[in-house]
Symmetry: C2
Subunit: 175 residues, 2 copies
DNA sequence: GCGAACGTTCTAAATATTCTGAACGCACGA
DNA sequence: TCGTGCGTTCAGAATATTTAGAACGTTCGC
């Protein structure tokens, strides 16, 4: 039995699954991850599939993707032939891994194309200005992300600092 | 005639269109936006559709979405009944608007759900710790984004600072 | 070696998203 | 008032993504 109430877990699983699209992972994968996050003990593939009402095949593929991201780990349970899964304890790690992968697949090619474009002759006037500004923005973002990926600890502090600066800090409307 | 070569524009349009999925806008919308970004003068709907090889209907809907985001503006051309479109000059603005919209639609509900979950009794031990850590991460991100949305100028500087910090700054592999 | 338990892979079905193109309404000039 | 040019909307076609479930290979206990 999980340390949290099934109802609570359920709610979290759905919320996380819904947010998955924000960072580009599919609903099943996000839900499997959420379930493991919210569960104290290791879970077997079949139990995951049952609890989430998804097929074993889907669960298997989702777990593989999560392992690829390095956010889920297989553990052995003595005397049990089945594979059990747990989430890695560091939530930040998960976030970084996924971020890194998306950056590599989607962001980097675009940044490169834009750089090439700005470098190439042809763009002039206002257009050139806009393009340069955009390349500049993307480069800054790339820098922050790289920094984040290489030194999560200090970058996290830096971000927390920005987040907490007095100016413009808006309290969340909830509650 | 555009100030840039058609070839150059074309290349940019495709790169931008491909990256669209990263921030969750569809390919057509991103391509229309890119075309306007890369074009000096205002364009009529039909020309946009022709140049991008998409239907007028699609172009119309894409332009509407871009206007909703506030990144594209309609302009009048005296003596011409058609609507012409130009991009807003501030690239950052565009970025913020889209960011804001996605945050509102996808992030905020999830953050709220997780907060509610951590507040609720039920989560204990390691699970509770993980959940708190996650809520903490999301709250930090929310803070940075809010800050960004409210004061682009200073936030941009702060990010540029983080990006440029000597540690771990990796040169782009291109070239 | 045989059969059962288990995980993985793959095909095809289900679903979601995006796009086209026809229908429509509006505004304008004749 | 009619006809033309224009933009928008929407139903359904095209496409992409996600999922189920059957088929298969492996391991282990007997």
């Amino acid at each position: 039995m999980p340390a949290t109430t099934p109802e609570t877990v359920q709610r979290f699983v759905e919320a996380w699954g819904a947010m998955g699209s924000l960072w580009g992972i599919n609903r099943s994968v996000a839900r499997v991850h959420a379930l493991l996050m919210a569960t104290e003990e290791a879970l077997a593939l079949e139990e995951i599939a049952e609890r989430l009402q998804i097929s074993k095949g889907n669960a298997s593929m989702s777990l593989r993707e999560l392992r690829t991201f390095g956010v889920v780990r297989q553990v052995e349970v003595p005397g049990d032939r089945r594979d059990f899964y747990v989430t890695e304890p560091d939530v930040w790690l998960m976030f970084f891994r996924i971020l890194k992968e998306r950056k590599r697949r989607e962001f980097d090619p675009a940044l490169e194309a834009i750089h090439a474009l700005v470098d190439a002759p042809g763009a002039t006037g206002a257009v050139r200005g806009r393009l340069e500004q955009m390349a500049d923005l993307l480069t800054t973002i790339e820098g922050v992300v790289n920094r984040f990926l290489q030194d999560p600890q200090s970058s996290r502090s830096a971000l927390a600092f920005i987040a907490g600066m007095p100016f413009g800090r808006k309290q969340n409307g909830k509650g």
